[in-house]
C-alpha cells in the first residue's frame, strides 16, 4: 500500500465513522493533546529560569510542573464542584459555554444549509446593541411588574437585529450572487464601526472613558440565581441555550424547512429538483443564523456586562471553531462550547496560580482545540474527497450493498465507473 492509499483509506474510515467512534476519537485526541502539551510545558520549563525547580524527572529539572498545570486547569474550570456545585469557577465556565452555544448554533445552522457564515461576530454586535438600546428605551416605561417584560424584550430585539443583519448577506448571495464568505467578513467591520458610532453619538454613558452605553435597568439584568452575585452567569440563559439547541435539532430533523435546509446544504441541485426555493432558503437560513448570534449578543449585554460596550470579544469567531468541533450538529454544540468554557476559565487559573506565562497557556489551549478539532476537520475534508467519485467504481453483483470503495492507486488513470 502506498502512502496515498493509506491516507485515502484513513479518510474513508473517518467519513464512515459512527457517533460512538467519533466521540471516542475526540476523547483520544484530548488525551494526546494533554500528553503533547505536558511535554511542551516541561521542556519550556527546563529552559526558563526560576529560583526553585518545580518538577524534575531523570535528572532534568523544569520550572513548571506539567502535572500541576493540568490539575490547576481542571480545578480552575470546575472548582470544588462536588462539595459546591454552584461555585464561582463553574459559573465562569458556564458563562463562556452559554455565550458560545449561541454563536456555535449560529454557525452550525448556516453550515447545514451550505453557507459559511463568518459574520456571526457582526450579527452578535448588532444583537447586543439593539438589545441594550431597547431595554434602555423601554426601561423607564416598564416599571414594576412590567419590568419582567424587559428581558424577553431585550432578547427578542437582539434576535431580530441579528436576523436582519444576517439576512443582508443572505439576500446578497441569493439575489446578486455575492459570496457570503466575503460579505459576512466585511459586514463584521461595518457592524463594529456602526456600533461605535451609534454608541458614541447617541447612547454614550456620561462620564465614561470607554465607548459604552449607560447601565441597563436592573430589571433587565439576567440574575445570577444559584451562583453567587458577581459571577455574571445566569442559569436561565444557559437553560435557554439548551432549549434552543433542542429546538434547532428538531427543526433540522423533523420539519420540512429543516429538510429543505439540509438538502440545500448537501446538494443544491437536488434541492432545486425537490421544489426547494433556493433563494428563500438562503435568506431564511442566514436570518436564522443571525438570530442565534443576535441572541448571543443580547445575553452578553443582559447577563455579562449590563450595558453595551464596544470592543466585543471574538465570540462569533470562536463559534466557528465550536461548530466545526461539533460536526455542525446542534447537539454537538453543547459539549464543544463546554470545552471552550473549561479552557477559558481553566487557563485563567493556570495563569494566575502557576508560574506558567500566559503565552504558554495559550499554546496549551490551542493544542487541545487543534487536536480535538482535527478528526472532524479531516472528516469534512474526507467527505469532499469521497463525494468526488460518487459512482462506485466497484461493480458488485446484482446490487448488493456496494462496499467501501477500495482506494485507487496513484496511477495515471482513475478506475472508470461501470455505468
Amino acid at each position: 500500500m502506498s502512502a496515498r492509499d493509506r491516507i485515502e483509506s484513513g479518510l474513508r474510515r473517518l467519513v464512515a465513522a459512527s457517533w460512538a467512534e467519533r466521540l471516542g476519537l475526540s476523547f483520544a485526541a484530548l488525551v494526546a493533546s494533554v500528553l503533547v502539551g505536558g511535554l511542551i510545558v516541561f521542556f519550556s520549563g527546563t529552559a526558563a529560569t526560576c529560583q526553585e525547580p518545580a518538577y524534575g524527572v531523570f535528572g532534568l529539572t523544569s520550572c513548571y510542573n506539567p502535572i500541576s498545570v493540568y490539575s490547576v486547569l481542571v480545578t480552575g474550570a470546575f472548582g470544588s464542584i462536588l462539595s459546591d456545585p454552584f461555585n464561582f469557577n463553574v459559573a465562569l465556565t458556564l458563562k463562556e459555554t452559554t455565550l458560545l452555544i449561541f454563536t456555535g448554533l449560529s454557525v452550525a445552522v448556516a453550515f447545514r444549509a451550505g453557507l459559511f457564515n463568518i459574520g456571526s461576530q457582526g450579527q452578535l454586535i448588532f444583537g447586543g446593541l439593539a438589545s441594550a438600546i431597547t431595554v434602555l428605551t423601554a426601561g423607564p416605561l416598564l416599571t414594576g411588574v412590567g419590568g419582567f417584560l424587559l428581558v424577553p424584550l431585550g432578547v427578542l430585539a437582539g434576535a431580530l437585529a441579528g436576523a436582519l443583519y444576517g439576512a443582508v448577506p443572505g439576500a446578497l448571495k441569493a439575489y446578486a450572487g455575492a459570496n457570503e464568505v466575503i460579505t459576512t467578513i466585511m459586514l463584521n467591520f461595518v457592524a463594529e464601526q456602526i456600533a461605535f458610532f451609534v454608541v458614541s453619538a447617541y447612547f454614550a454613558a456620561p462620564d465614561s472613558q470607554s465607548v459604552e452605553t449607560s447601565e441597563i435597568p436592573s430589571a433587565a439584568v439576567l440574575e445570577s440565581a444559584l451562583f453567587g452575585s458577581g459571577s455574571d452567569f445566569s442559569i436561565v440563559a444557559f437553560v435557554g441555550g439548551l432549549v434552543l439547541v433542542a429546538g434547532l435539532y428538531y427543526l433540522i430533523k423533523y420539519t420540512a424547512f429543516g429538510f429543505d435546509l439540509r438538502t440545500s446544504g448537501l446538494q443544491p441541485e437536488a434541492a432545486r429538483f425537490g421544489g426547494v426555493d433556493a433563494k428563500r432558503t438562503i435568506v431564511s437560513s442566514m436570518a436564522l443564523s443571525g438570530a442565534f448570534a443576535g441572541i448571543g449578543g443580547a445575553v452578553w449585554v443582559l447577563m455579562v456586562l449590563g450595558r453595551f460596550q464596544t470592543g466585543v470579544p471574538a465570540l462569533g469567531f470562536d463559534g466557528i471553531t465550536v461548530s466545526i468541533l461539533a460536526g455542525n450538529n446542534p447537539l454537538g454544540v453543547v459539549p464543544a462550547a463546554l470545552l471552550f468554557g473549561v479552557l477559558k476559565s481553566g487557563s485563567l487559573a493556570v495563569q494566575l496560580s502557576t508560574g506558567v506565562p500566559i503565552q504558554l497557556v495559550g499554546v496549551l489551549r490551542g493544542l487541545i482545540i487543534l487536536f480535538v478539532a482535527m478528526p472532524e476537520f479531516f472528516r469534512l475534508l474526507g467527505k469532499q474527497f469521497v463525494t468526488t467519485d460518487r459512482e462506485p467504481a466497484v461493480a458488485t453483483d446484482g446490487g448488493e450493498q456496494t462496499p467501501t470503495e477500495p482506494p485507487s492507486t496513484g496511477g495515471t488513470d482513475d478506475p472508470g465507473g461501470e455505468r
Binding site: F273, G275, A395, D397
Partner: protein, 518 residues
Amino acid sequence: MTDAVVLDEITKRFPGVVANDAVDLTVETGSVHALLGENGAGKSTLMNVLYGLYQPEGGTIELDGEVQEFDAPRDAIDAGIGMIHQHFMLVPPMTVGENVVLGNEPTKWGGLATDRSRAREAVRELSERYGFAVDPDERVEEISVGERQRVEILKALYRGADLLILDEPTAVLTPQEVEELFDVFEELTAEGKTVLFITHKLGEAMSVADDITVLRDGENVGTVDADETSREQLAEMMVGREVVLDIETESVETGETVLDVDELTVTEEGTDQVRNVDFEIHEGEILGVAGVDGNGQAELVEALTGLRSPDEGTVTLDGENLAGVSRRGHIERGMAYIPEDRQERGLVMEFDLTENGVLGGQHTPPVGGTRIDWPSAREHASDVIETYDVRPPNPEAGAKSLSGGNQQKFLVGRELERDPGMVVATHPTRGVDVGSTEFVHDRLLALREAGVAVLLISANLAEVRGLSDRLAVMHDGEFVDVVDPDTVTEEELGLLMAGERPDEPTTTESVSADGGER
C-alpha cells in the same frame, strides 16, 4: 494463433462482496472480444484487475504466454495494455497531439524541451496508419465526442499498446459515431491489435465482436462465438432467466390534452438552446424525443418541469398556464420528473433511502407538510424498494452506497409512485440492467394505459422507438421532425439527429409536433 490474454481463476473481493469469483477469460490475438453483462456483474472490476488498478486475491494474468503481475497501471501499460475509460482523460485546452504524447513527450536539447514537431509527426503518422481522421493541431475542446475517443485510442497506441480495453465505448456516441468506432476496431485488428470492450448492449456485442464472454454476478457464464449466438441466448445468459426483449405496446385510446407546449424558446447566454418548440401530449400517450445529448433536451426539460422559466412561449398543464409557477408548484400539480442526473439532481447522495424518498414530497401530506412524518416516510421508501426491487432492500442504506442501477430504480420508483398525471422521463433506464429496464418499461406503459401523459427523452434509440407513440427528433434546439416510431428506420433517425431536415422543404409549423395526428 496465440492468445493475447489468458486470465486464470481471477478472484477479487471487496469487503462483503465477491466482485470476481474465479473468472477465466481467454482473448485471441487480433480479435475483437466483447465482455457482456449487467450492471454490477463484475466487468469493470475484471478489466481494472487486468489494467493493474486492482490487485486480485487469486488467479493469474498471462499476456502472450507470459505470466504477469501488475502493481499499478504503469506496469500494465509497459506490458502493452491500453485502457480507454468511459470518461475521457484528456486536457481540453491542449491540442490532440499534445494530449496524445502527454506523459511520454519526445524531448530535445537533452530533455530540456518537448520536441513538438517530432510529437506532431508521430501522432500524424499513427492516425494515418489506422485511418483516424483527427488533426493533431486541433484543440480537444473543439472536436466531437467521437473524435475525442479516437484521441484516447491514439494515446494508448502511442504508448505501445497491443491490447486495447474500452469501457462502454459506445455509451456517449451517436449511431453514426458508433459505426465509425466499429470501423476503427477493424483497422486495429487488421494491424494485429487486440480489442477487448465492455458493454451491456446485446446488439453491439453481436455486430462487432468475434467472441462474447458473459459475466453474471461476478462469474463467467460462458464465452460464445458471436456468429453462432442469438440475442435471446445472450440475454438469458446475462439475466439468468428468459427475457422478453421486444417492447410490446398495445394501442391506447388517447384522451384530453395534458401538456400543451406552444412556441417554447429557452435562451442562454444569447443563444437559443430551445427554439420555437411546439407540441402536445395527451392522456395515455408517450411522446419520445430522440437526439444527440446537448441539443437542447436538457433545457427543454428544465423549462417543462419548472426548473427554469421559458424565455418565450407557454407551457400549459391540464389547461393551466404554468408561467410563474414554481418548481414546487409543478410537483404539486402532479408532474413527476425522472432527471437525467441521478447523482446530482435526482438523489441526495448523503441521505439514506428514507430521506431520499421524501425529496420532492417534503411539503405535501401524507409524508410531508410542516412536519415530516418519518415513520410513514420509511414505509413509503420500503414500498418503493420492494416494488422496484432495489437492492439492498434497506430504507436506511445511504444512496451513495447503492450501485448506479439500484439508485436509478429507487429514483424511478419514487417519481412514478407520486401518482402523477404527467411524467417527464429523461434516460429512465440509463445504467440499469436488462431485467430492471424491462420493469421500468412495463411501469411506463402501465402509466400510459392508466391515462398518464409521458414525455420520454432517451439516448437509447431502441427504447424511444419501442415505447413512444410519436417520436420527435431534436437537433440544435429544434424539433427537426416528428415521426412514426414504428416505420422510421435507424438510418433516417440518425440523419435527423444529425440535423438533416426531411426531404420536402418544411415550415416551422409543419415540423412542429402537434399532437393527436396518429
